[in-house]
Symmetry: D2
Subunit: 396 residues, 4 copies
């Protein structure tokens, strides 16, 4: 055993084939749809192509038809899939479904897996994760959770408002986080529920227009109003919802990093090609020092991001909660990837702003990542607190 | 005479009334149109309202119904107008028309003024400025100009392709920069021409979709193909186009700064209101240190931007070319204003990303300013060269 | 009245003559002493030369032999003096004496002025300002003041420990801030006392070695122990010490900015000369893009700093407390000047690190400015709070 | 084989024991000597203690009494040694000796190893590496090499001037880089020579005072003047000096990163302890958001630096030249480590500036790392060129 950066051969091969698939199959579709799509037919066709290529849902266990990739394996493959905004959709490894699969595989009952997980993995249905609430509810501070589930005979009644629920429109079901004990502000007392979209107590209030538009079906505001669910709708155990959220969030924020790292590399490739091919002031654009600086800084940011992601993955694969390392990876990645795309735009000049290249689109898509999955500020606060606590513990 | 920061009383009053007009009249229209408009009826109505309020076209000379504001006066008023994306449109001080008015007032013949300037000032027509060309033509390096005007009997024939021509669609005429002598790369030999939109030799090739969408009618790619114009179409003297471009660009880039500074202040106001009203982790968001840091940095960036703009304006008002000070103001402003908007988004979190507030829109609109009117890299290159030349001159 | 950036003629002339004096007289002395001096003979000679040149103590009122420069006037002159680390010492406008003169002129009694102010202005003696205390005393939070002055018959007894007291060693007296009512943490209850160095209750505990070494006599830790002073030692009124501190601090932090801005310009001049004269990779260093970027960023930082300083000065000269504008100027300046010096070092490479040029020295001297006179974090906190309070007041 | 971050057990144990040795033995010596030492007795004693602890020279092969640590092994151990400025000296893994050992082990003849390598490894003697020349000679651009070695009978005569030669004063010999063919500017034609300090043609011209002072014996300017050496003084083959320099520089710049990373961690530990123990504005300093941000950013920078170092080490251990990955690691590390130390100073406030803690010292020591071993700008230029070349090769 020693420090090692090469993925194992199978994973390397899968990553390579994923890269080829994205280049040959996904990017042509992407270009026909201006980078993103909200059309289910396109989704279905992309997923069929990925399945035919043997690349579909590689993260789920072999039992469910995947490769059972560990986090480090995902790091290699998801980055390649992320090279197009449509790549993760094609492989069925996009948020929020990918995180929900991870969660359901970990804690659902066999019956729940049969009913909710299988069709999700196959791409037959989509899902959503209903946690975030409008102010002053659950957001940066999950404990602020106000949606409440009340015990009724044979089940629960859920009441509350959620927003920025990605993929809610058209989803077959929601995993809803609701408070089953305690009050807003308490660090315990939440429970996860599986709520069918057909449940009359679950309403889509509105589509939330936002800067980003690439996550399939976008974001919605939804309402649980007298939403009655049976006991079997409880995911895992009652009152352990915050624990499960951690099960989902650590890996989910890290797979986000992987996918966006793919976009960062794509942006850099576009910028480098432009800089190498374009003349300015009598030289190749790529020979001007300030452009070289941006190219180099992109390369550095990409390398540093990848290193932090791999580190976090390795910790998660060792069975660690990865709380600190995934927070570090997420915070750095979200900012570094943003810088990379921003520099790519700058290198390309007016072209970078135009829709002739997808960089402006990437800028829009990447910006929210500094906010989604915990704003950088919240992560920094948590990172610092853990460092200080470690010191205080050691100095006692 | 001593250093003085207060504008004269008339200007201060005008700025105050502009601020009130934007708040009471323009922002309601803005909110009804999601921040921007491409609709000419809206433009006409906004301009009528501004005229009724005595605020219309304050920058043109009294002869043309304006206030003849000098650059320092514009700084005070344009910043207030820029508080809404529609404010400059309402006052008819938006790009590119505002810069074109400035240019025409300075160098057009009386006949040209009658025909082109008057209706532009009144808002009866719009115009465009056709300089930028697709690679490898005129862009960061204006001398790369490839569009050519050839002498024919009684006039000129213009041939060439331009892109990112703001406001071209629907404009009554274009001010076209074409090479009348020398070759691409030469630092002289350009001439400006007034070309009517009705000229069959002038074609709109396509609308260029771009990240920003607020400049009225957006950006277009246009083609001059066998475009014949009479001698009277020459603006100023033949072969002096690059000089006139400087007449236009120094002030034009500075008024851009003023308008965008308005948006920066708006973004900060939205963020401060959110931070003051929102609770998080049991405190007011505005009491969290990292949020305070962003609020303070915004305040600092806004103050520094304003200082640099005023300095550049003062130099221009003294009759200086302001080459260095406008480049400094533009480079700093474009980056500082971008930072301000970006931080405002971050302070507002998911809300900042949503269309419920215009911050995501501002982010899109402000990004190109680091590229338009000379990318930051080109300005830095020019700033440094002037510094070094000054040293070399002084040390001889 | 309109925005104006030119100083009045007298001031401009004084600034010019100061620049010449620094170049011709001060810098040669500086180079003979490796940039700094702790030698009183050097101080006295430099001050004599400045007096002979008619440049001595230009900030004090005509009554005291100065020019009565307002803050804007100081901005012009102090920047020129600051071009050498020894310039402010020569003109007797260095910290902490300059701030103490300002304070004494504003609030001392005629007797106190005669005894303490006159010899300070003439350079006959030096002084110090004893406010900062070791943790957990007065520092970023002045209200944490723990040094206490107890009423005794015909006077007061002061007890407490101070540190980072600049210039204490060799000073003829200290202005000591002590608590006369309330408890540590209270925002009132402080009083200022004039304490002679000869007072047996005032002891220099130790010299504090620190990164910076240019402030004359450096920093010391001092102890007030059973230090008895008469009633006439009270400066201003009892319990109003915190108010007077503001009188001193707003201008003092701004004059600090002026002086350090001089160093920033000096650093830039050294770097530009090096870049212009040195060949690398077959071109002049100054023609490499990344070097041009650093030169340009220095120019921008210098210009922005100057703009913010002038703005703060103008507000102070209008009689405003300048709380917000001086905090903004100080925070930005301290960071911008640091960046300028840091870039200058980088441009000069190994030479920049060596003592062959004073850049490494400047780096050491400038670093503490982000901490002295209120750390950037404290200022940002205060800036943000004022912005938020303004919003809350306006939205009531 | 899969991505793996844990070092093997032996290395982990060695790192742990190194950490304990630095804490228990080295830091007490450091504190007695204000952080650094130029005293040979101290060096010898520290090295004896390290030898007694079984920690001495762990990087050299077993044949020479070391552990034969590969680069990844060094990463773990050197970071721990670097926790004190004196740690690397104690273990005899400080620059420039460590890089020279690496080089001599790789290319020296058995006789040369016996004579030069063995006493260097044992700590009996010190050495220096004489490559850098004053402008316009070899520096950022090694090809600018002007020192010349001329063939004479049975040997060579070397003439030229070198500066910033670390450790030259007191070194037993220098490895001198001189041009044996071609002209300044040519990318080939250099040869390495082993030159005894006793050689009358080798003179120490002067000690170069510099911002940093911790590298043993500091930096010197030296002169080769009619310096005659025999054929056996040639290290490796004639005219292959630039190749060998690469053999030395890739690993040497990476071990530099490891050692400085130790200092970054030390700085962070000092800052965290201060923040956790100090009260301000009624809370623990560590609970203020802006302080938490600095603590978190330090943690992120440290983690990212370590990831990039490990990646570069892994590539070197695979036999790659590691040109790109070591350049990336070096550029990022030098800047990140600097930021960490700078933030640590800021967190500690005035204390951070004082010599009561070693942070000001660290700031001085770390600054040159952005220049030594290739300035960041040169590395960025090289990184970008390789990226562009890769694109051009792939797109042919």
């Amino acid at each position: 055993m020693a420090v090692e950066f090469a993925p194992d051969r199978d994973v390397a091969d899968l990553a390579l084939r994923t890269a080829a698939f994205v280049r040959d199959v996904v990017i042509p579709v992407e270009q026909a749809h201006q980078g993103i799509t909200g059309c289910d037919t396109v989704r279905v066709e992309l997923q069929r192509a990925a399945r035919d290529a043997g690349l579909f849902a590689p993260h789920v266990s072999v039992e469910y038809g995947g490769r059972g990739l560990d986090m480090r394996g995902r790091a290699a493959v998801f980055e390649e899939a992320g090279y197009s905004l449509l790549g993760p959709l094609a492989l069925n490894i996009a948020a929020p479904d990918e995180g929900n699969m991870h969660l359901l595989e970990a804690i659902a009952t066999p019956q729940q897996k049969q009913r909710y997980l299988r069709p999700l993995i196959s791409g037959e249905v989509r899902s959503c994760f209903a946690m975030t609430e409008p102010s002053p509810g659950a957001g940066s501070d999950p404990a602020a959770l106000t949606t409440r589930a009340t015990r009724i005979r044979d089940g629960w009644q859920i009441d509350g408002r959620k927003w920025f629920i990605t993929g809610a429109e058209g989803a077959a079901y929601a995993i809803c986080m609701a408070r089953t004990s305690g009050d807003a502000g308490d660090r315990g007392g939440a429970t996860m529920f599986l709520v069918d979209a057909a449940n009359p107590g679950l309403k889509i209030v509105r589509h939330i227009d936002s800067l980003d538009e690439s996550l399939f079906a976008g974001h919605a505001e939804i309402l649980f109003e007298g939403c009655v669910v049976p006991d079997e709708a409880v995911l895992g155990e009652v009152d352990r919802g915050f624990d499960y959220a951690q099960v989902r969030l650590g890996p989910a924020r890290t797979t986000h990093c992987m996918r966006w790292l793919g976009i960062a590399r794509r942006a850099q490739d576009i910028a480098v090609a432009h800089a190498a091919d374009r003349q300015l002031f009598g030289s190749r654009l790529a020979e001007l020092g300030m452009v070289q600086q941006m190219i180099a800084d992109n390369e550095i940011d990409i390398a540093a991001t990848r290193g932090l992601i791999l580190r976090a993955c390795w910790e998660l694969d060792q069975g660690s909660s990865g709380t600190q390392s995934t927070a570090i990876a997420k915070t750095f990645s979200a900012e570094a990837i943003w810088r990379v795309v921003d520099r790519a735009v700058q290198i390309c000049g007016a072209l970078g702003i135009s829709a002739d290249v997808p960089l402006g689109r990437f800028l829009r898509e990447v910006r929210p990542f500094r906010i989604y999955d915990g704003p950088s500020e919240t992560h920094r606060w948590a990172i610092a607190r853990r460092v200080v606590r470690r010191y205080l513990d050691s100095s006692r």
